[in-house]
Amino acid sequence: MDDLVLRTVGITKRFGGRLATDSLTFHIQRGEVFALLGPNGAGKTTTVRMLVGIIDPDEGRIEVRADGARFSSLPPPLTGYLPEDRGLYQEIPVVRSLTYFGRLRGLDAREAGRRAAAWLERMGLLDRQTERLDRLSKGNQQRVQFIAAVLHRPAVAVLDEPFSGLDPVSQEFFIDLMAEMKREGTTILLSAHQMDLVERVADRVLLLNRGREILSGSVAELHRRLDRRPRLRLTLERAEDMAVVRADADVAEAAVDGPDLCLVLRDGAQVPAVVARLVTTVQTRAIGADAPRLHDVFVRAVRDDDNKLAEPSS
């Protein structure tokens, strides 16, 4: 496909009295991986559903231009869609379901069957192609669902929460798949909340909270926004030492992350000196430098937005 333009202009959707998306304006470039991020209920799935034409916006418009034609949502033959609410026909053999979805997206039966077999082989499921879907494990059912979404080699793949419910190995597998699709020129719209995974594949991101845009830009730009203060991650032997660490003069922020304590040091703090001081004052099992993560940027942005909304208007 030579041309593809996907743009939303002020799309707003309400369900009853609740605002699901509020005047969202963004565009997606051909061949990029664009990620919609946000906490649960931020409006990601509603946005995705409007883009693929399942629901219509109450206000605003969606402009899609592809192959010289204009559309008000992504046209089905060009689009592969992995919905958040996943499901295929449980009682039907895997290859039959895949062929059906391939045909619905414009393939003829023979080609759909051939591609389904190729994908199943790649996923290690070829020997199970004639089995009913409900005989497969949940992870394998997810793989079949992914095949159903991309079998017809869509120009745009819309993947709503593709990592949810997957084990780490499968998550890596899907990240590799997305990277490969991107290399082949597929435009990918990703909706997710696992920032650590998203930042590995996405080119640009749009962070939503309560249906509104609160942050957007390329991953590189967002990296530049990171808090560059020095950081440490340490594991304490005794939990009661946490107060001692927090009280250190060079520690600006301290947050518990699983078994670890993540410290943000004050600007100008000398890291070796802080480490030397901490290992003598508290018993540590491990201590090391920590890197700033985009995850923190998003958590902070969402919290700031929530706090702003919670403040009484003056």
Binding site: G53, T79, Y81, P83, G87, F101, A148
Partner: protein, 394 residues
């Protein structure tokens, strides 16, 4: 064009999703087995029905034939009668009561009671005729119905009448069975797709209208094939019965135009109700708990109302029922074979029903588009009404 292609793909999918040769052959085999067992059971029951010996005390033997009954004079001594009952020489002792009725003395519940009562009716009737001085021949003359010889202006109409009535009744029957067959698949299929979350995957690829059209067509085709399969089974049994009994079907002729209209109504009626139930199913989360499952009995109502047509096929009510799309599927075929509604009435009725099928599929598509994505809460009737009348983008 894409929509037509999608409708065709969905139609094929829905048909093959439920149609399985193995199941069809199995149902045919079961049907045959049940029929054979039924017939065999009747035959065996006839062979094995035990003889009943009844001692008559002051009662004349009923007129022949006696069937499985054997009548013998009862011993004069009551004690001897009791002994005969106890040692099972006889199963019952029949005597007259003081009121002119009969008394049957037994040791256990008489399973032959109805048969015996029928015989005793004949005895009593004969006695009463004798008392009244009326001979049996005279009574027969009195009860003979008035002769009414119906002669058709066009003799060919007489020949087609009976066969067409049979075909019309058959078509209404086929339509009802097909409606109920497809109804369960529509309801279970659509609510199942909602529960399994298949809907979003499909609805992003095809328009809701194409999906519902394909569903209705595919499941209707499946239901018709299943019913035809059943009819084939019945036909085989009918042929077997014909061969066994030497029964010959009366010579009959069918007018092709009438048969065409009958078949058209069967298909249109089926499509109308299936579009209706597809829309209902889209608004339901679980058929087993939803109050809307009671709507499934609705298609019987027009058939019941059509009794009016049988009584007065040219009356105003019959004409109205034959025109209204909800009732015309059973009513017009009945009018067609019982009367002569004329080309204008038939054409108008066909047009109205075909139009109603079209409107129903559009409304169903609109309800389907919104209902199919609604999980948890069932929409109210007001909401459904709004959906059906509102135009959506896709």
């Amino acid at each position: 064009m894409t929509n037509v292609r999608h409708v065709w793909i969905v139609t094929q999918w829905e048909f093959h999703r439920f149609f399985k040769w193995k199941d069809q052959l199995l149902s045919l085999a079961l049907f045959l087995l049940v029929s054979v067992v039924w017939m065999g059971a009747g035959f065996v029951a006839g062979l094995s029905s035990s003889a009943v010996t009844i001692a008559l005390a002051g009662v004349e033997a009923p007129p022949e034939p006696h069937g499985r009954f054997r009548f013998m004079p009862a011993p004069p001594d009551p004690a001897a009668r009791t002994r005969a009952l106890q040692d099972r020489t006889v199963q019952a002792v029949l005597s007259r009561g003081t009121d002119g009725g009969f008394v049957l003395l037994v040791t256990k519940e008489p399973t032959y009671r109805a048969e015996l009562s029928g015989m005793l009716d004949a005895v009593v009737r004969r006695e009463r005729l004798e008392v009244a001085g009326v001979t049996a021949a005279a009574l027969q003359r009195i009860l003979e119905p008035a002769a009414l010889d119906v002669r058709f202006e066009n003799p060919a109409r007489a020949r087609v009448g009976r066969a067409e009535k049979l075909v019309a009744a058959g078509c209404v029957g086929v339509m009802l069975i097909a409606i109920f067959t497809s109804l369960s698949y529509l309801l279970i299929g659509i609510t199942g797709e909602k529960q399994l979350r298949v809907t979003e995957s499909v609805i992003s690829a095809v328009s809701p209208q194409a999906w519902i059209d394909g569903k209705v067509l595919g499941i209707s085709a499946y239901a018709l094939v299943s019913v035809v399969n059943m009819i084939v089974g019945l036909g085989l049994i009918g042929v077997a019965a014909q061969v066994a009994s030497g029964f010959a079907w009366p010579a009959a002729a069918l007018r092709p135009s009438v048969v065409t209209v009958l078949l058209l109504y069967t298909v249109l009626g089926l499509l109308f109700w299936n579009a209706f139930f597809a829309a209902v199913a889209a608004t339901v989360n679980d058929m087993y708990t939803s109050s809307r499952s009671s709507l499934m009995f609705l298609p019987v109502l027009p058939v019941v109302l059509s009794v009016v047509v049988i009584k007065d096929p040219d009356g105003l009510v019959a004409r109205l029922l034959a025109l209204l799309p909800i009732t015309s599927a059973p009513a017009l075929p009945m009018r067609l074979v019982l009367s002569d509604p004329g080309l204008v009435e038939v054409s108008a009725s066909v047009a109205v029903l075909a139009g109603a099928v079209w409107v129903m599929r559009i409304a169903a598509g609109r309800i389907f588009q919104l209902g199919i994505l609604l999980y948890g809460k069932e929409p109210t009737l007001n909401e459904i009404g709004r959906w059906a009348t509102a135009r959506h983008e896709r």
